[in-house]
Symmetry: C2
Subunit: 199 residues, 2 copies
């Protein structure tokens, strides 16, 4: 027998979320049913608030609650250093490393002829405008280390290098703490090619 | 740098859900940010609806949108057969087996002297009232096969058996499709003790 209609509706909606299968959806739905109404409404309101208050930073196209995001607005950041990423979700992991103090530029995807995503579909024009207007010394192209990401990085490097701006890419290599034995051959090959002197 | 306040609030709320860690929360938050406002509001409304429309069935204490849940209200179910479970979340897995056509009774927990949960904290009085008023032939006690569940089952069996009602418990044994080699020794021991003739 089916669950009550509103429970079934909640299950359906939860199953749409990434990484949530039928069992996780059920676990979460019963948690919501079992918790206080106030606690459940905190969640539903957080979803509504995020949709009504968050839009894109007009400078870097990260998600922002103001016209300009907190990173672009910060005087503590190095505004001559831009890290180019595909999506806003790529920014928090870079922030967590604590080693990058520049600003960002979100492309909104990566070049993919297969999916019909060309330079026009990405915020490349906006990036080039920033490079023309601001005093930029280095652009780190942190697109994903896959075919689309590498293609995008190569395309951008060809556009940006002639401007006399340093273009870099995060190093490829073995994950720290990983097992050499279990590294895939492409990663291990790249790590050996890009080997560095021990200091 | 922290995420925008409303994104951080959504992350915090998502991380409260069972089985959702920081990485899953981030994945879901970015999915919500990236999806249409309509799709996101479907989810927040489903949460609100479930809290405003769902309460407990007055007969079996399963979650229900009406005073009596669909199972208790159904004429297709065998109302002389009651399956006793600890929580509403135990009902869907039993329904999915398709082998049980009786009705349910939700205790709201299991006996646990450690956590101060005695018979008064569970809906045992309500169960005994049903057994007195209705024409019940069998009670299947499907509490969890752990200490609290077994204690509860033994307690209920002592109360119910004198009424001349058959009291049963789902069989313990090896999971179907599992490996005997990997079964824990208690389960394997129980499976051997409760061995059945091959027909």
């Amino acid at each position: 027998m089916q669950a009550a209609p509103s429970i079934q509706k909640l299950l359906d909606e939860l199953e749409r979320l990434p990484g949530i299968g039928p069992k996780s959806a059920q676990r979460i739905a019963y948690y919501i049913l079992n918790t206080s109404t106030d606690a459940a409404l905190e969640l539903s309101r957080a979803i509504e608030d995020v949709k009504s208050t968050v839009s894109f930073c007009t400078v870097c196209f990260n998600y922002a609650q103001e016209a300009v995001c907190e990173i672009c607005a910060s005087e503590k950041r190095d505004h001559s250093l831009i890290c180019v990423v595909s999506e806003p979700r790529d920014i928090p992991p870079i922030e967590r490393t604590g080693v990058f103090d520049g600003v960002y530029h979100v492309l909104g995807g990566a070049l993919s002829p297969m999916e019909g995503i060309g330079p026009e579909e990405l915020r490349i024009k906006e990036l080039m405008a920033r490079l023309a207007d601001e005093d930029i010394e280095e652009v780190v192209i942190a697109t994903d280390p896959n075919i689309e990401g590498e293609t995008t990085a190569a395309y951008l490097a060809r556009l940006i290098s002639p401007l006399g701006i340093t273009v870099t890419r995060p190093a490829s290599g073995l994950p720290v703490g990983g097992d050499l034995e279990f590294a895939d051959e492409v990663t291990l090959g790249r790590a050996i090619e890009e080997r560095r002197p021990v200091r």
